[in-house]
């Protein structure tokens, strides 16, 4: 009898996800600001064959946290993800970035770069939250009516998707004899003029190797689930109980299926417990339809990730729940997701 394949991500931060993690004896200041810490943790996660590492999760606002909290320091998640490209080989790199005070063109371009440079390992964790504490820091938020946020976010994603599609996969031809670097008939303006954005395109960066970077969302409100069903590849939920998770996941997946899409749901997993118990619990949740996998939030780095990789992963493998190695070369391949084809290529094929 086949067992479900369990998808795993890990949220990387400085000292760990427990509020007191930075006060543990092995914690160091270098964890907060040094690339070496993130490099080592990403490699450790890669050794455990995590599907992807999340940077900047959970997304939060620009308010300064209290003096006792390590959340007072944050780094730009996109830059961190980019820095991890050359020091890892297979793990996906998913960065949180705003769909509010940034421009869709900037987002599309940055993630096209991340996906191209990583040869198809990039993902965007869409932070679409409107937070009052951000208003004084990001002028662009002045133009946003929170009551219209749902429509605006949807349009933001539509524009980003259209920009990634603006280059067909075979637009770059490098034809030396005929002096044709790009086949200009395969690069298209998007001429988007909606209620919130006006963007002509095309993107100035070729199609991402994955077609579209992996789209990760975290909003489990009613509107959020609807948006995820329509646009996300992965939804991360924070359930209080398994029954909770079964309900949310069931609803989100059913809605996605109704829209002709597939949605993978991961549940936040704070790390605690014995390896055998954890593996048992994880298997139970997946078999009950509570989720397709887990987003690990290690209480402290490196210890809790190390322990998970060294004890829980072997147990999951023994149960046939996770593979030994990365099978695909892109993040979408590793997750068993289809690669989106440019709408222009689809249109051309009739």
């Amino acid at each position: 009898m086949s067992v479900p394949q369990l998808i795993l991500s890990v949220s990387l931060n400085g000292a760990g996800h427990h509020p007191g993690a930075w006060r543990m004896p092995h914690a160091s200041r270098a964890q907060a600001l040094g690339g070496a810490h993130y490099r080592d943790m990403a490699r450790l996660a890669e050794r455990g064959r995590f599907d992807f590492a999340l940077l900047g999760y959970p997304p939060r606002g620009s308010a300064l946290a209290p003096p006792g909290s390590a959340e007072a320091i944050r780094l730009d998640a996109l830059s961190l993800a980019a820095a991890l490209i050359p020091v890892t080989t297979s793990i996906g790199l998913v960065a949180a970035a705003p769909a509010t005070y940034w421009e869709p063109f900037n987002i599309a371009r940055a993630f096209s770069g991340l996906d191209n440079l990583s040869k198809g390992r990039a993902g965007w964790c869409v932070d679409a939250a409107w937070r009052p504490e951000d208003v004084g820091n990001f002028k662009r938020l002045d133009d946003i009516d929170p009551a219209m946020l749902r429509e605006r976010t949807r349009e933001f994603l539509d524009v980003a998707f259209a920009l990634w599609d603006s280059w067909e996969a075979d637009a770059l031809v490098f034809d030396v004899a005929n002096a044709q670097f790009t086949d200009h008939t395969k690069v298209h303006r998007i001429d988007h003029a909606g209620a919130f954005f006006k963007v002509e395109g095309p993107l100035n960066s070729p199609r991402p190797p994955q077609g579209r970077p992996l789209i990760v969302q975290t909003d489990t409100s009613r509107d959020g689930l609807e948006l995820a069903a329509a646009t996300a590849d992965v939804l991360i939920i924070r359930p209080l109980t398994m029954a909770d998770a079964v309900e949310t996941t069931g609803a989100a997946k059913a809605r996605a299926v109704a829209l002709g899409r597939t949605l993978t749901v991961l549940a936040d997993l704070p790390v605690m417990g014995l390896a055998g118990e954890l593996a048992e619990l994880m298997q139970g949740w997946v078999e009950a339809g509570a989720c397709d996998g887990f987003n690990l939030l290690p209480a402290s780095y490196p210890d809790d990730l190390e322990a998970f990789v060294d004890t829980v992963i072997p147990e999951l493998r023994r149960r046939g729940l996770t593979p030994d190695d990365y099978g695909g070369s892109t993040l979408r391949e590793n997750l068993g997701l289809a690669q989106p084809v440019s709408r222009h290529a689809v249109a051309a094929r009739g």
């Binding site: 930075w22 914690a27 946290a65 320091i73 830059s79 900037n106 820091n137």
Partner: protein
């Protein structure tokens, strides 16, 4: 002492470099390509590697410019990706103050400065109208307005980087004090164009501020740059022009109460290096022949906003049509008269193309010669006050960059014109620029 930067531009600065037999144009999508170039420059002890920015796909006549290498990676993603796999070399990127918010700019450059251990630099650019169509901002701000906005941005990012004192991140595990709240302050900036509350949630960058670069050569641009920039990019065709520009910039900097030595003028430099001068000339000719007629035609069509491929090569230059289309081109400014002055009365399209092939370097220094000649030429500029160094525009990457590093750099070093090794670890160290102390609170 010279300062050298590497200006990364796809397969190289020669317009047809991607057609060179040793070029691998598909590699520009891969990080390995950029890592190799950065490491070659680092082996050559360059001050920094620099990535430019564009905000719209390069087009000609209503569609993408298919004949040249136009790939334009997000430059900040590129330098971030190099932060952990280079050791000493500075990592510089353009980023627009017109289409990125100051808080975002401050957070991103602070992050890269932290990840690289103090090697980040920001070429602060205000963006022309070409990008506006991708940002739906309606009326694109005119140049004086853009510079006024940029003034605000500089003030805001400095205040944000100063919102943490250098010793604010105390990490006192025993007391449970992660940072000292007495040493972190909001900025409450309110200017004509923007208002930002702060503080930044990223501690002060290792360099205090990442190194500021600016490239404006207009009157506004020069004043703006002289007020805060530490490295000036420019295009100088002659030593005399370089001397005049540098003297003017240094005087302007003094006018702002700055030491003139806190400002380094670095014109672009396009080198064609041969073992002998004869070999350099042959290489020059070889590169010239890579410029396929379609590429030349594409450049002309882009320049005149008119698809010239519809006209016969040996026919007369279609002046009437060109004039009609030049009127449509909003951002051509002072370039228009220069373009028109280039056209001779008897020109056919073909003869004009032939003559213009040598002029595809956008007015930067162009030098073909043996290593000794190039080193002497650079030395002369330094000695005679034409520049403080150069931003190198190798015709082909990595090939011609490697040749420069292996053949010209040792000559520069032997002449005492260039460092034999890095003496410090931050980009400010390489440039001999002071680390700015935390500024006073704005209120």
């Amino acid at each position: 002492m010279l300062h050298l930067g590497l200006w990364m531009l796809t397969t190289g600065h020669h317009v047809a470099s991607w057609r060179h037999p040793s070029s691998n144009p598909a590699a520009i999508l891969n990080l390995d390509f950029y890592r190799e170039a950065a490491r070659i420059a680092e082996a050559g002890k360059f001050d920094m590697v620099f990535f430019e920015d564009t905000l719209a796909a390069r087009e000609r006549n209503g569609h993408i410019f298919g004949e040249v290498s136009i790939y334009s990676m997000d430059p900040l993603v590129s330098i971030a990706a190099l932060a952990l796999v280079t050791e000493k070399i500075g990592l510089a990127s353009s980023y627009s103050t017109t289409y990125h918010l100051p808080y975002v700019l401050a957070e991103k450059f602070a992050t890269i400065d932290h990840l690289s251990g103090g090697r980040a630099a920001w070429n602060l650019v205000t963006s022309g109208p070409a990008g506006a169509r991708n940002y739906g901002l309606g009326e694109h701000p005119d140049r004086p307005t853009r510079y006024a906005m940029a003034h605000d941005v500089v003030a805001i990012v400095k205040a944000l980087w100063d919102s943490w004192a250098d010793d604010a991140f105390v990490f006192d595990q025993a007391k449970g004090l992660y940072y000292d709240p007495a040493k972190v302050r909001g900025i409450d900036f309110k200017g004509q164009w923007d208002a930002v509350r702060g503080p930044l949630t990223t501690p002060r960058p290792p360099q205090g501020y990442p190194v500021f670069i600016q490239a404006g050569q207009s009157e506004w641009g020069m004043d703006f740059a002289a007020s805060f920039a530490e490295v000036i990019f420019c295009a100088m065709r002659t030593l005399e022009a370089g001397q005049a520009f540098r003297a003017q910039m240094r005087a302007k900097a003094e006018g702002f109460g700055r030491s003139p030595d806190s400002l380094k003028v670095m014109p672009g430099y396009f080198p064609v290096v041969g073992a002998t001068e004869k070999e350099a000339r042959e290489k020059e000719e070889y590169f010239r022949q890579l410029v396929h007629p379609n590429i030349q035609m594409g450049l002309l069509s882009e320049r005149f906003n008119l698809d010239l491929s519809a006209y016969p090569l040996d026919g007369p230059f279609p002046m009437d049509d060109i004039m009609a289309h030049l009127e449509d081109r909003a951002n051509i400014g002072g370039e228009r008269s220069r373009f028109l002055a280039d056209i001779l009365p008897d020109d056919t399209i073909g003869s004009y193309c032939q003559r213009m092939i040598a002029r595809t370097y956008a007015g930067h220094q162009y030098m073909a010669g043996d290593p000794e000649q190039i080193a002497d030429h650079m030395g002369q500029w330094l000695r005679e006050g034409g520049s403080d160094g150069f931003i190198l525009m190798p015709p082909l990457v990595p090939g011609e960059l490697k040749i420069f590093v292996e053949q010209v750099v040792p000559v520069l070093q032997a002449k005492g014109l260039f460092r034999k090794d890095y003496e410090g670890s931050t980009l400010r160290d390489h440039f001999g620029l002071a680390r700015p102390p935390r500024g006073p609170s704005g209120d």
